[in-house]
Symmetry: C2
Subunit: 199 residues, 2 copies
DNA sequence: CCAAGCGGAGAACGTGCGTTCTCTGCCAGA
DNA sequence: TCTGGCAGAGAACGCACGTTCTCCGCTTGG
């Protein structure tokens, strides 16, 4: 049974094309050609372009967070894990087809017209924030630090996309290190945890 | 002669519509209706939609930076000026038709297809970075602080757009305050003079 | 070997939109 | 007043694209 296979091929094609060129710039014909799934079958699986777009975003949301989580989990200390987020961003920005955050892009393109798209983007960013907040809590830093780190990460994505450089990830990591250190100092962290407590 | 007037009306309509709904979502007919400029005249002024889009972006670039500059200049001390950037963002985010950074949005929508759009977005972000760098230099902080503050500002724009809240501007300002304080402490602000000591 | 239906390939249809064209009325100058 | 052209309003054109339809070959059960 290749029904599953066809759906996966469509989603894979959609992700590459929608992310790489923008959603409105990609026609269903391009999806068909790239996935080698006939239009009839394509419309059996996804009854409209809108539904395919939503599926694309949901899939990307899940993959993005799981890849980030996997990378971060390979680090040991809570502090390292917080900073690993920015190392992962650096890697991502260096991928040749990096073109910014797919959710910010989709929101900018369709968010004003499509409530589902806006909602998925919002949910994705909220999930990311929660994930960072957990890392921050594990590193025994105040919860507002998570907001600051998220802003740095989001800014790095946009800036890296437009400038075409991965450097913003490094800059964001530097800033994150300073904020993390300062936050814990002000917070009066009882547990040094790494012995990396200065000042 | 109302030739000038027609052009201004077209640009005003284009800014509201393109920014508010996305570029591809707005047809030339909508521009015509909103500006009350007949299509014939419209195409005399802007020979194609692409050229109108570019004019829209260039005008928005100039206005955005000049409004920011005006607000910031109304503050006295160099430190206040640096932080005033985030107050201005807060005001902007609270405007009812705020929908994120028009350049990030345009880049996400068209940057992959249109080199001019990508170039204008890049130039805009570079100009913003230079502006912040000047403020940072005046506040006698190390130049890398400008990169950090720009990331916070960009992140605040995206996050405010997607969440629909102006709160990110406040969070970014808090983070900026910490980074500014820390940067000057580490930098040893003993010599006010130029503050141009690197790394 | 036959018939019935399923899946693939792409043509066809309707709509929206960027751009151009046509028609109509108005005003300048003789 | 007459005429020549200009500007406005919107129809028309061509194309792209989302969605549906048609045709055809293959398979599968009798």
């Amino acid at each position: 049974m290749e029904g599953e296979d066809a759906e996966q091929r469509v989603l894979a094609a959609a992700e590459v094309l929608f992310y790489g060129q923008g959603i409105q710039a990609v026609g269903m014909d391009a999806i068909r050609t790239a996935s080698a799934v006939p239009l009839k079958r394509l419309y059996q699986i996804f009854p409209s372009k809108d539904s395919l777009v939503e599926a694309y975003l949901r899939r990307r949301d899940a993959r993005w967070l799981s890849e980030l989580g996997e990378y971060v989990a390979s680090h040991d200390s809570p502090t390292q894990r917080v900073l690993a987020v920015f190392d992962w961003l650096f890697q991502w920005f260096n991928e040749p087809d990096f073109r910014g955050c797919g959710f910010i892009n989709s929101y900018g393109e369709l968010g004003a017209r499509s409530q589902p798209v806006a909602e998925i983007a919002r949910a994705h960013k909220q999930a990311f924030r929660h994930y960072v907040a957990d890392l921050v809590a594990a590193a025994e830093a105040p919860s507002w630090l998570a907001d600051h780190l998220v802003l740095l990460a989001e800014g790095a994505m946009s800036t890296a996309a437009i400038t075409g450089s991965a450097e913003p990830a490094r800059q964001a990591k530097d800033a994150a290190r300073i904020l993390l250190r300062t936050a814990r100092a002000e917070f009066g962290t009882a547990q040094p945890d790494q012995g990396s407590r200065e000042k």
